[in-house]
């Protein structure tokens, strides 16, 4: 199989910057602040799977407070008006946007699944036979956020370049 370019944490950061400037912080007051080795005690995880010329998952994880804030920003509501369904829908859309943009960087022939959202700590999430290949961590107004890519093991044995 030919060598493929696989997006890196820097690519995830470029996507995150676009998401924040478009929807979560359009006025540029409260940007996402990338920070290495942030302990992300995530409470909600949204993911899309990618299949085709690359197999794996893209995961958007955050604290529940950050997720509620994202839902409020997306929907132009106050945080206390945001419902659980709003939070799940917005997190799914965030995973969809990041996953779609990741797909655009991968070799042609990939497909992105509909998003899947789990309101549970990280240790309740499990992607069988996949390993984390890159992660962007940071904070948004003090709340932890992590965006990660998980590659299926069969794809990760010396085929990809970064």
């Amino acid at each position: 199989m030919s060598l493929q370019y696989i997006p890196t944490a820097a690519d995830l950061n470029t996507i995150a910057e676009q998401v924040w400037s478009s929807y979560l912080d359009p006025e540029g007051i409260n940007p996402f602040l990338p920070e290495e080795n942030v302990a992300v005690d995530s409470e909600i995880h949204a993911s899309v799977s990618i299949t085709g010329s690359w197999h794996g998952h893209v995961v958007f994880a955050s604290s529940m407070a950050a997720a509620k804030r994202a839902a409020a920003a997306f929907l132009a509501m106050n945080e206390d008006e945001v419902s659980e369904d709003d939070v799940i829908d917005v997190m799914g859309e965030l995973a969809n946007i990041v996953g779609g943009n990741v797909k655009s960087m991968l070799p042609s022939g990939c497909f992105v699944s509909l998003p899947h959202v789990v309101s549970a700590p990280a240790n309740a999430n499990h992607w069988p036979a996949a390993e984390k290949i890159c992660e962007l961590t940071g904070t948004w107004m003090g709340e932890p956020i992590a965006i990660s890519m998980w590659q299926s093991e069969s794809e990760s044995e010396g085929e990809a370049t970064q």
Binding site: Q18, V19, S21, S22, Y23, P26, A71, F74, L75, A76, D86, D89, V90, G92, E93, N96, I97, V98, G99, G100, N101, K103, S104, S108, G109, C110, V112, L114
Partner: protein, 120 residues
């Protein structure tokens, strides 16, 4: 103008509606579809002037909706708002007869650029 917004994400339908307003396109009749099948059915039943569609939707993808409309002689203005943007997708969209292709995340400025020639 009647505008059909097709996206399986309720959040994204709201954001498309809001971004249209922010881009200066107010006072239009906005209708929604939550999957590709609904999008096709509403396109045929309600005769919108413009369809703004997601690509990846349950039941039928956006490009399948577009192909089916064109196959049935429906030439409504139709384009995509999607987070996925590969060359092959853009080529498929063009071949199917799409009028525009907007990548998420998008801004009101991008909407104004694309929709001013269509909505006026």
């Amino acid at each position: 103008m009647k505008i059909l917004i097709a996206d399986d994400s309720r959040v994204m339908r709201q954001i498309v509606s809001r971004t249209l307003r922010q881009a200066g396109f107010e006072g239009h009749d906005l209708i929604e579809a939550a999957d590709g099948r609904q999008a096709y059915d509403k396109a045929m039943e309600e005769n919108p002037d413009l369809i703004i569609s997601d690509w990846n939707m349950p039941e039928m993808t956006g490009v399948e909706v577009l192909r089916k409309l064109r196959a049935n002689g429906n030439n409504v203005k139709f384009g995509f708002v999607t987070s996925e943007c590969t060359k092959e997708m853009q080529e498929q969209a063009e071949e199917a007869g799409a009028d525009f292709f907007i990548i998420k995340p998008f801004t009101p400025e991008r909407f104004a650029e694309v929709f001013t020639p269509i909505i006026g």
